[in-house]
Amino acid sequence: MAKTNIKSADKIKANGSIHHHSRNEGIPFDLDLIKDIKINKSAVERRASTIGTRRSVKKEWQAAWLLRAITCIDLTTLSGDDTPGNVHRLCAKARQPVRQDILKALEMDDQNLTVGAVCVYHNLISEAKKALKGSNIPIAAVSTGFPAGQITLAQKLKQIELSVKAGATEIDIVISRALVLTGEWAKLYDEIAQMRKACGEAHMKTILATGELSTLTNVAKASMVAMMAGSDFIKTSTGKESVNATLPVSLVMIRMIRAYEEQTGYKVGFKPAGGIRTAKQALEWLILMKEELGNEWLRNDLFRFGASGLLTDIERQLEHYVTGRYSAVYRHPMA
């Protein structure tokens, strides 16, 4: 298998976090890598259902893991009614995701803890940029006709270029679901590869919109094609489909990440998005990553949560750990 252009490890990423691995440059389209993929849904569901029951993370471990989860959050607002005002608030929260007194109690106040990135629509990149100035927090923009992707490829590429130009260092693209449903894998590869090229230095997260791909086998194949085409991350959902991130879907995608690494040596990141609202869920996903891929995938260069409400629940759990008292939402500054 072609290992093209593997760059030396450990380069410093824009937001200051250590980038331990070389970027996925993609490989030529190889139908052999996907044609025999078979996913057994029932067996996948069985494994997924015991992820959260085979491991338990409690007490100081829970606090530490939840803080780690925060650093992996793409703090997101993707609404029709987004304004400069609420984006500024979101960015402020991204810089200071947990109350300082809580961090102090956890002896974590010297860590400059931030979320992984802020994720917005194109129109709000410049506002986010202003608000995040000096913070090293990356700005992710959803792109390519998000969420449905029902525009021409040329329009998609143009959107990417504009967002990169506007200051987004991460681009969350959506794939053409139709190409999956009709089995046009080579065409899907070409589209994603072109988008990757348009991203340039910006990292590309490829949203599969798994809720619209019908089968787990399709999810697995689409994951593999997206990685072959050079995705830095593969991401479950836009948050706008009727079914978003689930553990079974995630399990299938990360098994493909593992298979792709075995084939090429490239480590590709994973981002579940949509529906992850509780600290307990966050822990389940972290356990899933640790068990199936290993500790490297517990850092934000290879793992992100796409979420808006999750942070609030984590803050409450952290306060509970510190004080022993159950916390209320209003005690934590809103985004």
């Binding site: 029932s42 067996a43 530490a64 803080l67 956890l106």
Partner: protein, 798 residues
């Protein structure tokens, strides 16, 4: 540990489940438990107590009473005394008690889970998420069966007092598998838990008190092998249900031989886990984890033999090894472990020795360095590759976290390897090809076949073995019969019931004299569809009741039985025919018998001195009986069980294989037809020993078989000394089932000798049926005895 440190390492911490409530419960009993007999805690007559320890930490948990012969007798008497009231309260009230037990178990589920985990060493995750929920489900499910017993199973009644002996690997779950169906069907129970793991059974005794179960309905006696032996041999126990080793199962079968006690045995296994090339390999890996590293591999149906298609073997081994590195071992109450402690140092030693043997036999061993805890009895997950079927570890049940891998080239070879074992408890097969899955599943000799899943259980599905994995089923409709007996059994007589039907001579039928047939016509044996000379070269005279020679038959011997069994095995055709096709052949038999009914009547009359009219009646009844089985050939079918997971659970009745049939002495033709027909209707091939005194109807039947398209080898007939030939059949390891209708002594011999290969037996203990009575002489009960249920689990969803 500092949060900052963990934030960097992202390690798991310790997450212990609290044992405070369980400890309180032990303390409440002052760390010492008595016997639960007649609804009360009674001190053992033996005055002896033994220690129960926690295998995770080797710490003492409690002292447990040891029941001796007198205590066992007390418990059995209590159960017997309780029986009339338990029956008189009726089905609905029994259902309410079972429902109450289910509820009460659920209410105390965490206490049960913690206690079980402490006592057995298995992970709290398993007791909490699997064992205890399955226990509650078992009682709920059987509360339902209790309610409908009298309507759904109206031809059956309770067995009486049931003795139950259960193992240490799933202590409370095995208790529920035993007690729930027994009580639901109206029996009372004396149960002995395994000496390593008595505690949850004792907590269950308290639950029985709490729900107000009538005293004596459930008795729990603790102790070791001697206690069990006393229970098995107690004359007032009507049935023994045992789960444990094949070795002990065999002892029980021999000890109960001829006593008339019903016996069900759920024994060992060496179950194949078959992976075809098109399987979802990442899911297969998790399947293997569930198969052999569940409960430390101390599972009778553990998928302990991994059979992998050769072209994917290396890939799968690689995946397995990297998965094994992630398995965490530790204290059973730690909520973050996959593998707990082995139940006892004895078991740990057995495992270690077998692994040493495996290395000595040339197997390639892999054990990840996961760090076994120093305290307690732990054994690391172990994978052997490059193992040949002849290696000890490929054959014997290890009962530990040790997986033995072999490769196969073709589907046929996979089936052959899967069946290359004395056991037959379960199998798991992995393929995305439903054609392949449903082709292979029926070919595997195992009571449960899991497709793309493994170690999945539910109360609605039957579980139990083929071959030396024992007989009988637990769970589902099929499991209920172990705790029931047909009401007609009460009508059986201690002397032969002869044809005293007041049949008047049918005036229309032309009777052509009843002089004996020509003495020169000596019947040979019938083997493989051909008449063959007996190996010994001797013949026996057949006498009529007056002592006159009316014919001769071949005197079969051991070798003739051997040849007949081989011929029966060689016949693959009959077993593969559809129900409809078999029915066609059976109707054809009836047709051909009808054509020759006078000849058959004359023969019966000559052998029995019955009037021609009575003999004709026997022929008529025989024709009717053949019709019954032709009718049922495509109607005795299985079920799709309502199990709780998303899957189709097919309960398929399958033939036992090769059966021996020892026909009743009375009714030369009807006795033959009544016993042979149900066996072949289910697809078995049979070796028949006809009536010794009156064998000529069976030998005359050769020509009926020849002219009716019955494939050669389906029915093989060996005439001669009944006891001598029966003993050869009973001692034949390639005979799967044996029916015997003869003396009490013969019945005992059949049961005793059959223990060696655990063949399914059905004997009459010297009691006699009225073969002219359809209720006693035919029906689904006969087909049930000629078959065994295989449950095939087929999860679905794309």
């Amino acid at each position: 540990m500092k949060v900052k440190e963990i934030f960097e390492t992202m390690d798991y911490g310790i997450a212990p489940e609290s044992s405070i409530v369980a400890q309180d419960w032990l303390n409440k009993h002052k760390g010492q438990f008595q016997l639960f007999i007649d609804g009360k805690w009674q001190t053992p007559t033996s005055k002896k107590y033994f220690s129960s320890d926690s295998p995770s930490t080797k710490t003492h948990l409690a002292k447990i009473a040891e029941a001796n012969v007198k205590d066992v007798d007390k418990a059995v008497k209590a159960a017997k005394k309780a029986l009339p009231e338990w029956l008189s309260i009726g089905a609905h009230n029994r259902a309410r008690y079972l429902y109450a037990l289910a509820r009460q178990i659920q209410k105390h589920s965490r206490l049960f889970a913690v206690l079980e985990s402490l006592d057995n060493g298995k992970p709290i995750r398993e007791t909490r998420d699997l064992d205890i929920p399955l226990v509650a489900r078992h009682f709920y499910h059987h509360a339902g069966w209790a309610q409908v017993r009298d309507t759904e199973l109206s031809d059956y009644k309770e067995v009486g007092v049931v003795g139950q002996i259960i193992p240490w690997n799933f202590p409370l779950l095995m208790l529920s598998w035993k007690i729930a169906p027994a009580l639901a069907m109206g029996n009372t129970v004396v149960l002995k838990p395994a000496e390593f793991t008595s505690l949850t059974a004792l907590l269950f005794a308290e639950i029985c008190q709490q729900v107000g179960l009538p005293k004596g309905v459930v008795n729990i006696i603790t102790g070791a092998g001697d206690t069990g032996a006393a229970l098995v041999s107690h004359p007032e126990v009507n049935k023994i249900a045992f789960t444990g080793s094949t070795e002990v199962g065999r002892i029980i079968r021999r000890a109960t031989a001829g006593t008339g006690k019903k016996v069900s045995l759920e024994l060992g296994g060496k179950s194949p886990f078959i992976v075809f090339e098109d399987a979802d390999l990442d899911s297969v890996v998790e399947g293997v984890v569930d198969a052999i590293w569940f409960n430390q591999g101390q599972v009778c149906c553990a998928g302990s033999r991994l059979l992998v298609q050769e072209n994917i073997a290396q890939q799968l081994y690689k995946k397995l090894k990297s998965r094994m590195k992630k398995l965490r071992l530790g204290n059973s109450l730690d909520k973050s472990i996959d593998i707990g402690a082995i139940v006892d140092k004895v078991q740990l030693k057995t495992i270690s020795e077998l692994v040493e043997q495996g290395i000595a036999d040339g197997g390639k061993i892999y054990q990840p360095d996961n760090g076994c805890p120093k305290e307690g009895y732990y054994y690391p997950p172990t994978l052997f590759t490059d193992v040949s079927p002849s290696a000890t570890i490929a054959q014997v049940e290890i009962f530990g976290p040790v997986l033995v891998a072999m490769t196969f080239r073709t589907h046929e070879e996979a089936v052959a390897l899967a069946n290359n074992t004395r056991y037959g408890l379960a199998a798991s097969l992995w393929t995305e090809n439903i054609n392949l899955a449903l082709d292979v599943a029926p070919k595997i000799k195992a009571g449960t076949v899991w497709i793309n899943c493994t170690n999945v259980f539910d109360a609605a599905s039957g579980f139990g073995g083929y071959r030396e994995s024992g007989f009988g089923r637990e769970g589902g409709l099929e499991g209920l019969y172990e705790y029931l007996k047909p009401k007609v059994e009460d009508e059986l007589k201690s002397h032969p019931v002869l044809n005293k039907s007041s049949v008047k001579a049918n005036k229309k039928s032309k009777v052509t004299g009843n002089e004996a047939p020509n003495i020169d016509r000596t019947a040979k044996l019938y083997v493989g569809g051909k008449q063959t000379r007996p190996d010994g070269g001797y013949s026996l005279s057949v006498l009529n009741p007056k002592g006159e020679v009316i014919g001769e038959v071949a005197q079969g011997n051991r070798k003739d039985i051997r040849n007949a069994v081989e011929a029966a095995h060689a016949n693959k055709k009959w077993g593969e025919m559809t129900g409809h096709a078999k029915a066609q052949v059976l109707y054809y038999l009836a047709e051909n018998l009808f054509i020759r009914k006078e000849e058959f009547a004359n023969r019966i009359s000559a052998m029995t001195s019955n009037s021609i009219a009575v003999a004709q009646n026997e022929v008529d009844l025989s024709i009717q009986r053949i019709y019954t089985y032709a009718a049922l050939a495509d109607k005795y079918d299985g079920h799709v069980h309502h199990t709780t997971q998303r899957n189709v659970t097919l309960a398929m009745p399958e033939a036992l294989g090769v059966m021996g049939i020892v026909c009743p002495e009375e009714f030369p033709l009807l006795g033959f037809v009544s016993t042979v027909l149900p066996a072949i209707t289910m697809g078995n091939s049979v070796v028949v020993i006809p009536s010794e005194r009156a064998p000529l109807s069976a030998t005359d039947f050769y020509q009926i078989l020849d002219t009716s398209d019955v494939p050669g080898g389906t029915v093989n007939i060996v005439t001669g000394g009944k006891d001598e030939l029966t003993e050869v059949l009973a001692g034949h390891d390639d005979v799967d089932g044996l029916w015997y209708f003869g003396t009490a002594a013969g019945s005992k011999m059949v049961e005793y000798k059959s223990a060696d290969n655990m063949k399914r037996t059905w004997v009459n203990y010297g009691k006699f049926r009225n073969w002219t009575d359809n209720k006693q002489g035919e029906g689904r009960e006969f087909l049930r005895k000629a078959s065994q249920t295989k449950n095939i689990w087929i999860p679905y969803g794309e």
